[in-house]
């Protein structure tokens, strides 16, 4: 312990920290608990425990696993998040080698360019990509009468929009790991006569793998929950957050949204746990 303040101060400090965590948990608990309330509205009084909002197959209590639109949203979210995650880990790994291993002019400037997407508001990324893609598509249609459908709002643009800033996150995670790499391990392998490709495959990439996996999971989660960028790029294949938002605004809150919230919270908590476990350094042997 750094400071030894008096006990009264420490006690009130502890109470503040405790209250803060209650504040953090309150809305999450509220969103999760009503998934199990046997009522048509997510509000008190408590009408008894039920799993209908997950599994019931008929109106008025249509459970989330029988709700076509929610399931479609879940599916699209999954597809989008998988693509974003793979793409951003690939580019992030290239960026890591570029910025840690290579020497080239104006490197600091390019590094700032790499970080920049993180400080651009998501809404702006969304509209700027929408504008560029639509203009190219319009231009191609007028000049060449080409129909570039993938540049219209839809799944491709959503993936590109999310990829544009998630890549910064994956790059930073993988760069941090590559910086810790002990170059003498590679040199030893070269001295033993290994080729570049082989050193990369058997030494460097296995060392980087935990960071790549963790970055992939983070990318997946950030993509899954993204709203601001997606909002402007979405076409008819709406991911889950957009579907939920529509339902919330148009239909109002029903406990099926609580069920989805509960499901998502458990899912992301588990994935986050996995990302922490893979990144933990194994004890040196």
């Amino acid at each position: 312990m750094a400071i030894k303040p008096n006990t009264a101060f420490l006690a009130s400090y502890r109470i503040y920290v405790g209250l803060f965590f209650v504040f953090l948990a309150a809305p999450l608990v509220a969103a999760g608990v009503f998934a199990f309330n046997d009522s048509l509205f997510p509000s008190l009084p408590w009408q008894g425990f039920t799993l209908d909002w997950f599994f019931n197959d008929s109106e008025p209590k249509l459970g989330m696993f029988h709700d076509r639109r929610l399931l479609r949203g879940l599916y699209y979210s999954f597809v989008i998040a998988s693509f974003v995650s793979l793409l951003s880990v690939f580019v992030g790994t290239c960026n890591a080698f570029l910025f840690v291993r290579c020497k080239f002019p104006a490197k600091d400037f390019f590094y700032i360019m790499m970080v920049l997407p993180l400080v651009i508001p998501g809404v702006i990324l969304g509209i700027s990509i929408l504008l560029l893609a639509s203009n190219i598509a319009n231009g191609a249609e007028e000049a060449l009468s080409l129909d570039l459908d993938f540049l219209r709002p839809g799944i491709v643009l959503v993936v590109l929009g999310q990829f544009s800033f998630i890549t910064t996150i994956t790059s930073l995670v993988i760069i941090a790991r590559l910086r810790k790499f002990d170059a003498s391990m590679e040199e030893a392998a070269y001295n033993l006569g290994a080729s570049r490709a082989r050193v990369l495959r058997t030494i460097t990439l296995p060392f980087l793998f935990p960071a790549m996996a963790a970055a992939g999971i983070v990318a997946f989660l950030v993509s899954f929950e993204n709203f601001n960028t997606t909002l402007f790029l979405v076409g008819s294949e709406a991911p889950l957050t957009i579907t939920m938002y529509d339902r919330m605004v148009k239909v109002g809150s029903t406990p099926v949204l609580n069920a989805v919230s509960f499901f998502l919270m458990i899912g992301s908590a588990l994935l986050a746990l996995v990302s922490i476990l893979v990144q933990r350094d194994k004890p040196q042997t």
């Binding site: 312990m1 750094a2 400090y13 920290v17 803060f20 965590f21 953090l24 948990a25 809305p27 999450l28 509220a30 969103a31 009503f34 509205f41 509000s43 008190l44 690939f90 580019v91 290239c94 570029l98 290579c102 080239f104 360019m113 790499m114 970080v115 997407p117 993180l118 400080v119 508001p121 809404v123 702006i124 990324l125 509209i127 700027s128 990509i129 504008l131 544009s164 930073l172 995670v173 760069i175 941090a176 910086r179 929950e225 709203f227 601001n228 402007f232 957050t241 938002y245 919330m248 809150s253 949204l257 609580n258 919230s261 998502l264 919270m265 992301s268 908590a269 994935l271 986050a272 922490i276």
Partner: protein, 289 residues
């Protein structure tokens, strides 16, 4: 010679994805947005170049009022997040025992992975007229009629602080974690009291973390969409809502692009000013990894 060629080739191969990403998804779209913001629709497929969209913004008070309101509320949220979050970060990094530290830090991270939408939804369930807090207060006999806690500025600010405070705490914890306890003890041994040690030793040390947290928090708040709309209702007058309105409701992309560019310029200006004032750079704060 061969070795050098391989080096150059691998540099080019590694640079290509980076260049494509930054050029096609960041630079070109923003240049395009700026270009479109400078033209005005005068008829079907007829455009005129000029500053008309920007002049509209400054002559229509509701537009620039919204931007000023968004900016000042975002600053307030940033300050509140720093004041509320700093003690928590300090507790996690310096006071908690080794075991509780990891657990508390994880608890801070868990809401980070829950979407804004779910968090706002949770607040709605707590705060609305038929919500948990209102009905609990009625049940306890403290109030007679239901109270609506939603749709006012205080709730919007509370909700925004809630949404972004983790982005303040995480960089602060990692900065304070690297601080040697001996520095604090030395401050006390030299006769400093609590506030002096805090002001002269801890805060200067934590500055990169503070600036980094403030930049990210300000940017996220100014660019947020869901929390102000869901907790503040239709009249929350948040600037991102105006942008959405121009794009989707009015289908006036030229003016929407101008608004987007103004928001970007405004947030960049504040971030730049914050960096200058604190004597930090983007590399020493946000990009620290």
């Amino acid at each position: 010679m061969m070795q050098r060629d391989i080096k150059r080739l691998s540099l080019i191969l590694l640079f290509a994805p980076f260049a494509l990403w930054i050029l096609l998804l960041i630079i070109l779209p923003h240049l395009g947005m700026f270009y479109i913001s400078l033209r005005e629709k005068v008829g079907p497929r007829m455009y005129e170049f000029g500053l008309e969209n920007y002049i509209n913004f400054f002559t229509e008070p509701i537009y620039w009022n919204t931007l000023i309101r968004t900016g000042s509320m975002s600053l307030l949220v940033t300050v509140l997040a720093l004041l509320l979050g700093f003690p928590i970060a300090y507790y996690i990094a310096k006071i908690a025992g080794n075991r509780t530290r990891g657990a508390l830090f994880l608890m801070c991270l868990i809401p980070l992975w829950v979407s804004d939408l779910i968090r706002a939804f949770g607040w709605i369930l707590l705060l609305r007229e038929t919500g948990i807090i209102s009905s609990s207060l009625q049940w306890a006999g403290l109030i007679n009629t239901p109270i609506e806690f939603l749709y006012n500025d205080a709730t919007v600010i509370m909700g925004l602080v809630y949404t972004v405070i983790l982005f303040m705490i995480v960089p602060l914890v990692s900065t304070l974690d690297g601080m040697d306890d001996a520095m604090i003890e030395a401050g006390y041994n030299l006769g400093g009291n609590g506030p002096t040690v805090l002001r002269r030793i801890i805060i200067p040390y934590a500055m990169p973390g503070i600036v980094s947290g403030c930049i990210v928090v300000f940017m996220l708040t100014a660019g947020s969409y869901l929390t102000p709309i869901l907790l503040g209702g239709k009249n929350s007058s948040w600037f991102t809502e105006q942008i959405y309105d121009q794009f989707i409701t009015r289908y006036n992309w030229e003016s929407g692009a101008a608004f987007g560019f103004l928001l970007l310029a405004f947030t960049s200006l504040v971030v730049w000013g914050g960096l200058k004032l604190s004597g930090q750079t983007l590399n020493s704060t946000v990009a620290r990894s």
